[in-house]
C-alpha cells in the first residue's frame, strides 16, 4: 500500500509503503525500504472522515506526523484490516437523495418557524415579564422624548389618563396605563410596550369634539390590551432571525435584503393589528355606554383634509388598512354619553398651555 508520509517536524514528503501486522502499522520508505516509523494500531486516529475530507489524514494519537493514502481502494483495504479506521472510507454520499431530504427538511422547518412566529407570539408574549416590557417601553420613550417638549397641564393629563384606565379596565386589563402628550404634530398617537401611550397635541387641538379624541384613545387602548407593541417587536425579531438563518448569515447585503422583506411582513402584521384595535376600541366605548362614532368621524376628517388617502395609496407598503375600509368598519350612531365631561375636555384642550 503506497502512501505519503509527513513527519510533523519538517515539510518533507516521503513516499512510503504500509504494512499492517497484528498490532502495528509499519511505514517503510519506498525507495530503499528503510523503516520510517512503526505506529501501534491501537493508537491510530483518522482526522476527519471521507464525507468531508477528500482524503482524511491518518495520524498517531497526539503526534503531528501524518499519513495520507490517496488511493480509495487502498484506504478500503486498510479499513478491512483495521475496522477502527472506518472514517477513512465511508460509504460514498448519494448526493441526489440527500439534497432532496435536506431540501424537504428545510421547507418543513421554515413552515414550522413561520407558524411559531405567526401564532407563537400570541401565546408566548403574555408570558414575558411585564417589568421587562415596561423597561423596554420606558427606554424607547426616553429616546423619543429627548428633544421634544411634553405638555404638563395637570387637569388635562388627569382627564385623558382617567379615560384610558377606565377603558383598559373595561377590557379586563390589569396594568396601569400612562398617557404622555407631546407638543406639536403630526396628528397622530402611538403605543409603546409597557402600556405607554403617546399623543401629539395637534391631534387634540384639531379634533372637532371630544368623541374623536376618545375614539383614538380607545383605539390605542385596543393596542394595549392585545399586547400589540410587544407582539410587534417579537414578530419583527423572529422574522429577522428567520431571514438571517435562511441566508446562512453569510452576507450583509442579504440581511439588508431580508430586513426589507421583514419590514414588509411587519407591515402586514401591522394592518391586522390596526383592524383588531379599531374593533376593540369601538367595542369598549359601547360597553361603557359612551359615544363611539369618534374613530370613524376622525378618519372622515382626515380623509377630507388629505383626499388621496395615504394608506390606500401606499397599498402593500402601508402599516394601516385603507382609511375608507376603517371608516366603514367603525361607523356608529352619534349616541351615548360623552367620554369626557365638559370640564375635562376644556382642560385637555389646554393641556399644553
Amino acid at each position: 500500500m503506497a502512501a505519503r508520509y509527513y513527519d510533523g517536524v519538517t515539510a518533507d514528503v516521503q513516499d512510503v509503503t504500509l504494512k499492517v501486522t497484528s498490532h502495528e502499522l509499519l511505514i517503510n520508505r519506498s525507495e530503499d525500504s528503510a523503516l520510517v516509523a512503526r505506529w501501534p494500531v491501537a493508537e491510530l486516529v483518522v482526522l476527519g472522515d471521507s464525507h468531508h475530507e477528500a482524503v482524511p489524514p491518518l495520524a498517531l494519537r497526539g503526534s503531528e506526523a501524518r499519513l495520507v493514502v490517496e488511493d480509495p481502494a487502498w484506504r478500503a483495504q486498510l479499513v478491512s484490516l483495521v475496522p477502527a479506521l472506518k472514517p477513512l472510507a465511508l460509504e460514498p454520499v448519494k448526493v441526489a437523495p440527500r439534497l432532496g431530504t435536506y431540501s424537504l427538511a428545510i421547507v418543513a422547518l421554515v413552515g414550522l418557524f413561520w407558524s411559531a412566529i405567526e401564532y407563537g407570539t400570541e401565546y408566548a408574549v403574555p408570558l414575558l415579564p411585564y417589568t421587562l416590557q415596561a423597561k423596554l417601553g420606558e427606554t424607547v420613550l426616553d429616546g423619543l422624548l429627548a428633544d421634544k417638549e411634553t405638555c404638563q397641564g395637570q387637569a388635562g393629563l388627569a382627564a385623558i389618563n382617567r379615560l384610558a384606565n377606565d377603558l383598559a379596565r373595561e377590557a379586563g386589563y390589569r396594568h396601569e396605563v400612562t398617557v404622555h402628550i407631546v407638543e406639536g404634530g403630526p396628528v397622530n398617537a402611538f403605543t409603546l410596550p409597557g402600556s405607554i401611550l403617546v399623543f401629539y397635541s395637534d391631534l387634540i387641538t384639531q379634533a372637532k369634539d371630544s368623541s374623536q379624541v376618545a375614539g383614538v384613545l380607545a383605539h390605542e387602548i385596543g393596542h394595549v390590551v392585545h399586547d400589540h407593541p410587544i407582539k410587534g417587536v417579537a414578530r419583527a425579531y423572529g422574522i429577522d432571525l428567520l431571514f438571517k438563518v435562511l441566508t446562512g448569515g453569510y452576507s450583509d447585503i442579504l440581511s439588508t435584503f431580508g430586513t426589507g422583506g421583514g419590514a414588509l411582513l411587519a407591515m402586514r402584521n401591522g394592518r391586522a393589528f390596526e383592524r383588531e384595535a379599531d374593533a376593540t376600541g369601538v367595542r369598549l366605548l359601547e360597553q361603557r355606554g359612551l359615544r363611539a362614532d369618534g374613530v370613524s368621524t376622525f378618519f372622515e376628517q382626515m380623509i377630507e383634509k388629505e383626499p388621496s388617502d395615504a394608506a390606500s395609496a401606499a397599498g402593500i407598503w402601508s402599516s394601516h388598512p385603507p382609511t375608507r375600509e376603517r371608516i366603514e368598519a367603525t361607523k356608529r350612531p352619534p349616541t351615548g354619553r360623552p367620554a369626557f365631561s365638559a370640564a375635562e375636555w376644556q382642560a385637555l384642550r389646554n393641556v399644553c398651555k
Partner: protein, 397 residues
C-alpha cells in the same frame, strides 16, 4: 494517486528570476488542484442550513467548520492536500467573547449617557443615538481587526504536509493602519487607492507563514499609480455617461407610456403583474448601463491589482503568478454577487465552488519549497477564533 497538476494551458509569463543569482533555480510551474464536487458541497451546506433552523443559528460554528474541512482538503498544492483542523467550539467561544465585548461597550455607553447626557439641558440625543454612533465609530476599525484576527485563526488551523500555517503581526496594528489609510483615502477623493492597496496587502502577505517559512512582498505603490490614474479618470467619464444614458432611458420610457407621476405612485402601491414586469425591465436596463460601463472598468483595475500583488509575492525560492483577466474578475466580483443575491443565499456553495475553481485555474506556482528547510512552528496560534468577524457578519467561510 496524488492529484498532480498537469498544466492544461501554457503558463503565463513567469516572474523573472532574481538577477545576479549564480545558480539557476528550479522554476517548474505547477497549479493548485481543486477536486471538490458541487453536489457534495451542497449536501453539506443544506445540512448546515437545516441545523441552523433547528438551533436558531447556533450551529453555524460547527456548520462552517464542516464546510471548511471539505473545501480545504479538496485543494492541493504540489500534490499535497490542505488540512483544516479548526473546531466549532473554538468559533463559538470567539463569538461569545466578542458578545461580551459588545455588552461591556454597551454598559460603558449607558454610563456615559447616564452621567453626561441624561437630563442635562444640552441633551439633544438619547441612549440609542449615542450607542449607534459609537458602534459606527468603533465598528469600522474593529471590522479590520476582526478580519486580520480571523485570517490568523484560519491559517493557524490549516496544515499543509502536516505543518501548521500561521500569521504573525498584530491585528490591532493592522486595524489602526487600515482605518487611517481608508480615512485618508476617502479624504483625498480616493486618489490614494494604490497606496492603500499595497500597504494593506503587505502586512497580510509578509506575515503569512507555512511553518517557519515566511513570504516576501516586493510591491510598491509607485508601480501601479499610472494604471490607477487611468482607471480613475475613465471611471469619472463612465459615471457621467451612465447617468446620462439612464436618465434618457427612464425619461423616454415614462414619456412613451404616457405616465404622470400620480399614476406612478398608484402603480407602485398596487403592483400588477404588468407593473412588476415594467419595473423589472427598467431596473434591468439601468443595471445593464451600469454593468456595461462601470463594473467592467472596476474589474479591469481589480484584475490588474491582483496580478500585481500575486507576481510580487514569493516564499523563498517559490514564485507566484496569475494571468487572471478582466472577464474572470467580473465573474468573481459581479457574477458571484448576483448569484448569491438572486438565489437569496442558496447559491453560496456554487459561488464557493466557482471561486476554488478560479484559484486552481489561475494561480501558477514556480518551483517547489525545500521541504526539509521548513519546520513545524513552535506557537499554536490563538485558542479561539473569529469572534469579531462573526459579529460584523463579514466572514463568509
Amino acid at each position: 494517486m496524488a492529484p498532480t497538476s498537469v498544466p492544461a494551458t501554457a503558463p503565463p509569463q513567469g516572474p523573472a528570476a532574481a538577477p545576479g543569482s549564480a545558480w539557476s533555480p528550479d522554476l517548474t510551474p505547477s497549479q493548485p488542484v481543486y477536486d471538490g464536487r458541487l453536489g457534495e458541497l451542497y449536501a453539506i451546506y443544506l445540512r448546515h442550513l437545516a441545523m441552523m433552523l433547528v438551533t436558531l443559528g447556533w450551529s453555524r460554528f460547527w456548520g462552517r467548520t464542516r464546510i471548511r474541512r471539505y473545501v480545504w482538503n479538496h485543494l492541493s498544492v504540489l500534490g499535497d492536500r490542505f488540512e483544516y483542523r479548526g473546531r466549532g467550539i473554538e468559533l463559538m467561544i470567539g463569538f461569545l467573547l466578542a458578545l461580551l465585548l459588545v455588552a461591556a461597550w454597551s454598559g460603558l455607553m449607558y454610563l456615559v449617557w447616564l452621567y453626561v447626557f441624561h437630563e442635562k439641558p444640552f441633551a439633544t440625543f438619547g441612549l440609542f443615538d449615542l450607542f449607534s454612533l459609537s458602534v459606527v465609530l468603533i465598528g469600522f476599525p474593529l471590522a479590520y481587526v476582526g478580519h486580520y484576527a480571523g485570517l490568523r485563526y484560519k491559517l493557524s488551523r490549516t496544515r499543509w504536509r502536516g505543518i501548521r500555517c500561521g500569521m504573525a503581526g498584530s491585528a490591532w496594528g493592522y486595524g489602526a493602519i487600515a482605518t487611517f489609510l481608508q480615512f485618508a483615502n476617502a479624504m483625498t477623493g480616493y486618489l490614494l487607492t494604490p497606496v492603500v492597496s499595497v500597504n494593506l496587502a503587505r502586512p497580510r502577505i509578509v506575515n503569512t507563514r507555512v511553518g517557519t517559512q515566511g513570504f516576501t512582498f516586493a510591491g510598491r505603490a509607485g508601480d501601479i499609480y499610472g494604471r490607477y490614474l487611468g482607471y480613475y479618470f475613465l471611471n469619472i467619464v463612465a459615471w457621467i455617461a451612465a447617468a446620462v444614458a439612464t436618465f434618457m432611458a427612464i425619461g423616454g420610457t415614462i414619456e412613451t407610456l404616457g405616465f404622470s407621476s400620480d399614476d406612478f405612485l398608484k402603480l407602485f402601491a398596487h403592483p400588477s403583474l404588468h407593473t412588476v414586469v415594467v419595473v423589472l425591465l427598467i431596473a434591468f436596463a439601468a443595471y445593464l448601463v451600469f454593468g456595461l460601463l462601470i463594473l467592467p472598468l472596476r474589474c479591469w483595475w481589480q484584475a490588474y491589482l491582483l496580478r500585481y500583488l500575486v507576481t510580487h509575492s514569493r516564499a523563498d525560492n517559490v514564485l507566484f503568478a496569475t494571468a487572471i483577466s478582466t472577464w474572470q474578475m467580473w465573474g468573481f466580483l459581479v457574477l458571484n454577487y448576483l448569484i448569491v443575491l438572486l438565489t437569496l443565499g442558496l447559491g453560496w456553495p456554487w459561488v464557493m465552488h466557482r471561486t476554488m475553481k478560479l484559484i486552481a485555474g489561475q494561480l501558477w506556482i514556480y518551483g517547489a519549497p525545500q521541504g526539509s528547510e521548513i519546520r513545524q512552528p513552535t506557537d499554536r496560534g490563538p485558542g479561539y477564533g473569529e469572534g469579531l468577524l462573526d459579529m460584523f457578519d463579514v466572514s463568509g467561510v
